[in-house]
């Protein structure tokens, strides 16, 4: 029914060679073939952002991208953020600020906001809300997520200043 291709992808720093159906989404590849189930599907039509991962640094919706399109690229998922038990400042801020309840939307939001903060080290609240408006969260009402992102910007600024 469906033809296959060999792909080679680096995911969270580890390289994988796999044969995949051409129609397999990147999200399914990560979840089903690599067992990286931290990436979630909330809509499978590109609206909710829960499936967001980073491909060569850019946040993309893994429900809309095919696995074969990631051939030769480097992918980061939520599993690749923390180093062992050490959370990144963004993850820590989410915990401090109660920016997650059910946590289902969280991986995609972390991925989206990590990219955003790299590009906007000193965002205003309005900037954060704008950047966040492509991700749906039904639990939190967003406020604590916004605060967590602002706190992270603050923390990162202080670390930079100290360095």
């Amino acid at each position: 029914m469906s033809d296959t291709r060999n792909i080679s992808v680096v995911v969270n720093g580890k390289s994988y060679q796999r044969t995949v159906d051409t129609r397999r989404t990147l999200g399914d590849f990560l979840r089903l073939d690599l067992g990286l189930t931290g990436t979630h599907f909330g809509c499978e039509h590109g609206v909710c952002g829960a499936c967001t991962v980073r491909v060569d640094g850019t946040a993309v919706r893994s429900c809309l991208m095919l696995a074969v399109q990631a051939n030769g690229k480097s992918v980061q998922t939520v599993e690749g953020m923390a180093e062992g038990d050490i959370l990144t400042p963004l993850q820590t801020a989410f915990r401090d600020r109660h920016a997650l309840q059910c946590g289902f939307c969280t991986p995609g939001i972390l991925m989206t906001m990590a990219e955003f903060l790299e590009e906007n080290p000193a965002p205003s609240e309005a900037d954060v809300r704008d950047a966040l408006s492509g991700n749906l969260c039904r639990c939190t009402g967003y406020q604590n997520i916004v605060d967590a992102v602002l706190q992270t910007a603050d923390t990162l600024r202080k670390t930079r200043d100290a360095a």
Partner: protein
């Protein structure tokens, strides 16, 4: 080292580390050996007869293992319909089959299930299943459906009105006879669905050797799902285990038992392989329960001082095609209307109407926000008629704290009269008004209008029955290695139970919450359970954890007192030990001396477990453990006031929420951070309900909004910073003084948003008697008003 009391503090959540690092475990993350994937063939028509089903082409596809329709199901599923847990004498119930038999009654109703190696193949095959339907006339609008000449939602129904229930208090005729001030309103309300981010999902696995059915399901309570499966499959209690792992949001509809669960369990039993079904978002729009339409035709009688004398009317409720929750949802709406106000006479006829749409069952707030909108719209009407400040009208009608406990007289769905246990409603409103600087608002508004800006303010007050019975249990156990486990049937979907229940237990054991493991959502861990909905878990499960922990701690002390030869009352639990309590001014518990006079929980648990061949001491019950099922005598009532300031762009109809204050009283706060999180999420839900969320259907009940482009959820740019004011009135009805909080943000908040939009548009004479109020609709109403067509 733990010394502070944990109750009332906001420790970091136990749940977060896993969820932040991708280690959460949701149903779709579970993979069982040999597992197949399923996809459902669903009715494309709202009402039709099934003439034939031809699955041969689908079955011929490689990788497809089965296509199962009604006639292939095990006998019990062919004979029985899904069980109704909440019958009512006025209800003619209609329950669904696991797979439709001869007639389909809503778009999305499961007709057949395809099982294949994986989901891709199952969906390919889905399209090859050929079903011949004979279309039947469909009921789309519930008010039209209530007419005697309407087509029937099921071919054999005598009437689409499946329940008429009267709620009546006081002498309503006298109330309306004795005053000339009577105001009538027709209010239309629509609430959409839950739209949790994780769609539904289930895995069933059948062990033929043991005859054991294991079900993983994303639910709000595995025990009720097990109960339904017991009804449907004739297995014995120990043969079914239902487990709910991490859940990506529930908000009501994951508390239902669905046809798909029964069908998937049947597939697993028939095929001898585990079978997984994960709902996709399109299915979620058509097949997951939602709330929907209510028409309220009401009138209110007030005296010359604007005090309510009576309120009467009819509620016409769109129930959808079957009655899985009986009349629970509209009943709660009816019981909520009086709210914090004195309503001496009350008379509402509830008409629940079957339509050819997916079932309407409780969504966060469960019919309460609608009841609040009705009352608050009437309050604003009275204010307008009497030229009084809306806050003042409410003040004149509030139940006073001195009147507590206050019997409203209405019968709630637990069969008991609504009796408010505690709360200070005038103070709550005052607190909210002060925070938003209400008194200065009219000046702000006048100033804005000079600049061509239209701002408005609205008030919403609500009283919410929380902590609904019957119970939720907790088993607290200290293992022989000293580890403490709390198990409960309550099932979180983001409410942080693992943290808050650990906090309650931690206080009795004198340990940090990290030392306590909380197990939720597994029927094998505790025998009875109801589940998490209706803001009931903190009250019921929380109280049970407290009671069980107190018992276990007392037992530990009793054993330790004997072993150490000291008095029980001189002992305390701390950091995993039972030890001599610190004496004021004397040697502390940490001193060397005291340290020798102590026993670890592990040692005590070993003693409590007994030794083979030795009699238990003094006939004590074995084990350092206790199970408690706290039963509340009645619901405990939380209350809240939302005050909202909006700006309306009269060109585009866009509404911007400038400020939103929510003052609320949910009793004693176990964890303020968690409660605030619940409130903020609930408020966002109300914003969606007030301004965006609408399930659209055409006149043949064909759904028109089936993705997040057509159905809008509130975004980070739509939800303002929410200002929360806590009041804490301890509930007298449970040992911890807590009330429910999970819906307190949603319930009072739709009404004031609508009111604020109307207030902003008051120069145009626009009246709003509907929710949601979308930009298109606002522009339409402005146009009508310009043409002199106001209501």
């Amino acid at each position: 080292m733990m010394s502070e009391k944990s109750f009332g503090t906001s420790p970091k959540r136990k749940e977060d580390f896993d969820l932040l690092t991708g280690r959460g475990r949701f149903v779709d993350d579970i993979v069982l050996p040999g597992m197949y994937a399923a996809a459902f063939v669903r009715s494309p028509l709202a009402h039709a007869r099934i003439k034939s089903i031809d699955a041969s082409a689908a079955l011929a596809m490689p990788g497809v293992h089965a296509v199962i329709s009604h006639h292939d199901l095990p006998a019990t599923l062919r004979e029985r319909r899904l069980p109704l847990f909440v019958p009512h004498p006025t209800l003619t119930s209609r329950m669904q089959h696991a797979l439709a038999k001869e007639e389909v009654c809503y778009v999305g109703e499961p007709v057949a299930v395809v099982v294949a190696d994986n989901r891709y193949l199952a969906e390919d095959a889905l399209h090859l299943v050929e079903i011949d339907y004979e279309p039947l006339a469909a009921v789309s609008d519930c008010k039209a459906g209530a007419r005697p000449d309407a087509p029937r939602a099921h071919a054999d129904l005598e009437s689409n009105v499946v329940s008429r229930m009267l709620s009546s208090v006081g002498d309503i005729d006298a109330a309306f006879r004795e005053t000339p001030h009577v105001f009538k309103e027709e209010i239309f309300q629509h609430r959409g669905g839950a739209f949790f981010m994780e769609c539904r999902g289930v895995i069933a696995s059948y062990d033929a050797v043991e005859g054991a059915l294991l079900v993983y399901v994303s639910s709000q309570g595995p025990h009720r799902i097990k109960r339904a499966l017991l009804d449907l499959f004739d297995l014995s209690d120990t043969q079914i285990r239902v487990v709910t792992p991490d859940v990506g949001g529930g908000f009501g509809p994951k508390g239902s038992f669905y046809a798909e669960y029964a069908a998937i369990a049947a597939c697993a039993m028939m095929l001898g392989h585990p079978v997984k079904w994960i709902e996709d978002r399109r299915e979620n729009f058509v097949a997951t329960h939602q709330e929907r339409d209510q028409y309220w035709d009401v009138e209110i009688a007030v005296d010359a001082e604007a005090r309510i004398r009576g309120l009467r009317g009819v509620l016409t409720h769109d129930n959808g095609a079957y009655t899985p929750w009986g009349i629970v949802l509209p009943w709660i709406s009816v019981a909520t209307v009086p709210g914090p106000y004195i309503v001496p006479a009350y008379h509402i006829e509830l008409r629940s109407v079957l339509t050819n749409k997916v079932m309407a069952t409780p969504v966060r707030g469960a019919g309460r926000p609608e009841g609040v909108v009705v009352m608050e719209r009437l309050m604003d009407r009275i204010a307008r008629e009497f030229k009084l400040d809306p806050a003042e009208v409410r003040r004149r009608n509030f139940i006073q704290p001195s009147q507590m406990p206050y019997n409203v007289g209405v019968i709630f769905r637990d069969g008991k009269q609504v009796v408010y246990d505690s709360g200070d409603y005038p103070a709550c409103q005052d607190a909210a008004l002060q925070t938003i600087d209400y008194d200065a608002f009219r000046a702000r508004q006048a100033e804005a209008r000079l600049k061509g800006r239209y701002i408005g303010i609205g008030i919403g007050n609500a009283v919410e029955g929380t902590g609904l019975g019957p119970y939720e249990g907790a088993a607290v156990k200290v293992a022989t290695n000293g580890r403490i486990t709390v198990s409960t049937g309550a099932t979180p979907q983001g409410q942080s139970h693992k943290t808050t229940l650990a906090q309650i237990a931690a206080d009795q054991f004198g340990v940090s919450i990290d030392a306590i493991r909380v197990e939720t959502g597994d029927t094998s861990k505790i025998s009875q359970g109801i589940g998490t909905f209706a803001a009931r878990t903190a009250v019921n499960a929380g109280s049970s954890v407290h009671l069980a922990s107190v018992k276990v701690a007392a037992k530990a002390k009793a054993i330790a007192a004997k072993l150490l030869d000291v008095r029980e009352e001189d002992l305390e639990l701390r950091d995993g030990y039972v030890q001599l309590a610190a004496l004021p001014g004397g040697p502390g518990a940490a001193s060397d001396n005291a340290r020798q006079v102590r026993k670890s929980l592990a040692e005590l648990a070993v003693v409590a477990a007994g030794m083979p061949g030795f009699a238990m001491q003094d006939g004590a019950e074995p084990g350092l453990e206790s199970t408690a099922y706290f039963t509340a005598p009645q619901s405990t009532y939380a209350n809240g006031t939302a005050v909202v300031e909006v700006e309306v762009d009269i060109e585009t109809g866009r509404v911007t929420i400038l400020r939103l204050v929510l003052a609320h009283d949910c009793g004693m706060l176990i964890n303020p951070m968690v409660v605030e999180g619940q409130v903020m999420g609930g408020v966002a839900h109300a914003i969606g309900n007030a301004l965006f969320e609408r399930m659209l259907y055409d006149d043949q009940a064909q759904p028109l909004s089936t993705n997040f482009g057509e159905y809008l959820l509130p975004l980070a740019t739509d939800v303002p910073r929410i200002e929360i004011v806590h009041q804490e009135t301890a509930s007298p009805l449970n040992p911890l003084g807590i009330k429910g909080a999970g819906e307190s943000g949603t319930i009072p908040t739709i009404a004031p948003i609508i009111a604020a939009v109307e207030d902003a548009l008051s120069p145009f004479g626009v009246r709003i008697l509907e929710a949601p109020i979308t930009p298109q609709r606002i522009v339409e109403l402005l146009g009508d008003a310009a043409l002199g067509r106001t209501r």
